[in-house]
Amino acid sequence: MSEENWIEVGSTDSIEEEDLIRFDHQDKTFCVYKLTDGFYATDGICTHEAVHLEDGLVMDDEIECPMHQGIFNIKSGEALSPPACEDLKTYPVKVDNDKIFIKID
């Protein structure tokens, strides 16, 4: 894995705890979350319909889509509640000098 895969998202204080921010890179959208035990990243668009998850609700380790209430586990991407049935892709996250990086493949 080369260093270039790590993309800087922003500073660690740009996200409140149990919340998320949207991050666009090239033609893709991601969501980066701050949970009680650290930072996580997933695709930014719901797998059910093309809706941005940035306006969704983060509860514990879950993100709920604002349109149809499909629920995903943020850490594993697993689709937990219909209508979502396709898992959400997740991405590795690291923090370096108070900056958040995600690794995009």
């Binding site: 941005h52 306006d55 969704g56 609700l57 889509c65 604002p66 149809h68 209430q69 219909p82 209508p83």
Partner: protein, 409 residues
């Protein structure tokens, strides 16, 4: 024990029930009897993305035939003409007889029709199923001035789609506001403004006296003697539960099939779910009948659990949405039992929500905003309501304060 389970009705409640039964019961046979020769599909896109060509037929199916095959769920396209609850049998129009040990009725609801002269019956279009959506899509491509009778969700969603297809659209509503059956007037007015801004004409408080066919077009006479000329008419004037099959049986009907909180009907081993069911909601301590995506899904799942022997109360807080133009409207809970209304926001670009409170607890809320702007707050509202949280009104009314601060850990 291996049971013979039949699900009468191949819509959303039916398919979610079937899969839930299978999750809990690997042995029983599960058969869905559907009136349409299509696997269960999503209806919300029919009036929106399907008309706009953003979604095709294959995008609409809940699950592929492979999923049903893997889970050993049978689907049969058949029309049932008679039910014998005593002997647990269903009789099809093609003379086939189906026996069941447990029956789920998920026949849904059907469109109310305008009472018109017989010679106009085939001239008015309605939208509920895929076939109707296909027909409307095909015909409107050659039409320019379209009239929609009924200013409810379906009519307005079609009006929004047709406007985006550059059609001139007129909506005629009998009531003094749009979506009057369940949406507060404040929200309805915001939605109405958006329609008008996009060029749609909204006519309120008017009844239709007469529709006349003229050289392939139509003239609609309203009760104030005004005349509307139009070349295509679609009506969306509400729906009724599909229960004709059960009239003159022992099944208790009252605005649908009466069920308790376990989806059980008045007859043993017969369950009902989705639009067709007038169910008891233990949280609100009253019966209600809902026509929504979330309800069809969750009620189907709840029925599935109960049929499989996992006794489960239905406690979902009602939630529904409508998308019109770039607006997303959402409603949660019930908005007809309140002693106080609190407004959050006043700009549709940031979202506007009205909370309906009783004894300082949220009973319901309705909001509208540019897509994505109200979903999270409405969802938090559902949770606050469900937990009977006494809410801080300052936080509710101030859009700068986050609603999730009101949630108790």
């Amino acid at each position: 024990m291996k049971n013979n389970i039949i699900i009468l009705g191949g819509g959303q409640a039916g398919i979610y029930a079937a899969r839930e039964i299978r999750q809990n019961d690997s042995k029983s046979s599960i058969k869905i009897l559907g009136k349409e020769n299509l696997l269960p599909y999503e209806r919300p896109p029919l009036s929106k993305d399907f008309l706009l060509d953003k979604k095709n037929e294959e995008d609409l199916y809940f699950h592929s035939s492979d999923v049903l095959k893997d889970e050993n769920i049978e689907f049969e396209n058949v029309s049932i003409s008679k039910v014998d609850f005593e002997n647990k049998k269903l009789f099809a129009k093609n003379d086939h007889v189906y026996s069941y040990d447990s029956l789920l009725i998920s026949t849904g609801s059907e469109n109310k029709k305008l009472s018109l002269d017989n010679n106009l019956k085939n001239d008015i279009y309605y939208l509920r199923n895929l076939e109707e959506a296909k027909k409307i899509k095909e015909i409107v491509s050659n039409k320019n001035k379209i009239t929609i009778i009924g200013g409810g969700f379906i009519g307005l969603e079609i009006a929004s789609s047709l406007s985006q297809l550059q059609k001139k659209v007129i909506v005629i509503e009998i009531g003094n506001q749009l979506m009057g059956r369940i949406i507060p007037k404040q929200i309805a007015d915001l939605v109405q403004n958006t329609h008008i801004e996009h060029g749609n004409e909204i006519i309120l408080n008017k009844q239709i006296e007469k529709i006349t066919k003229k050289n392939g077009d139509y003239e609609i006479l309203l009760n104030d003697n005004s005349l509307i000329e139009t070349d295509f008419i679609i009506a969306g004037i509400g729906s009724t539960p599909t229960v004709k099959l059960f009239e003159n049986t022992n099944l208790k009907l009252d605005n649908g099939i009466v069920t308790n909180q376990f989806c059980e009907t008045s007859i043993k081993d017969v369950y009902a779910a989705g639009d067709v069911s007038n169910f008891y909601h233990p949280f609100y301590k009253r019966n209600m009948r809902l026509e929504s995506y979330q309800h069809a899904q969750n009620h189907g799942i709840c029925a599935g659990k109960n049929i499989a022997g996992v006794k489960t109360e239905y406690t979902s807080i009602p939630w529904m949405w409508s998308d019109q133009f770039n607006l997303n409207l959402q409603l949660t809970g019930i908005c007809d039992e309140y002693d106080e209304i609190i407004e959050r926001g006043n700009d549709i670009n940031n979202g506007v929500i009205y909370f309906f409170l009783k004894n300082n607890k949220i009973r319901g809320a309705c909001g509208v905003g540019i897509i994505g702007k109200v979903g999270r707050d409405i969802r938090i509202t559902s949770k606050l309501s469900e937990k009977n949280t006494i809410v801080d009104k300052q936080t509710l009314s101030d859009q700068n304060l986050k609603l999730n601060k009101l949630m108790q850990k």
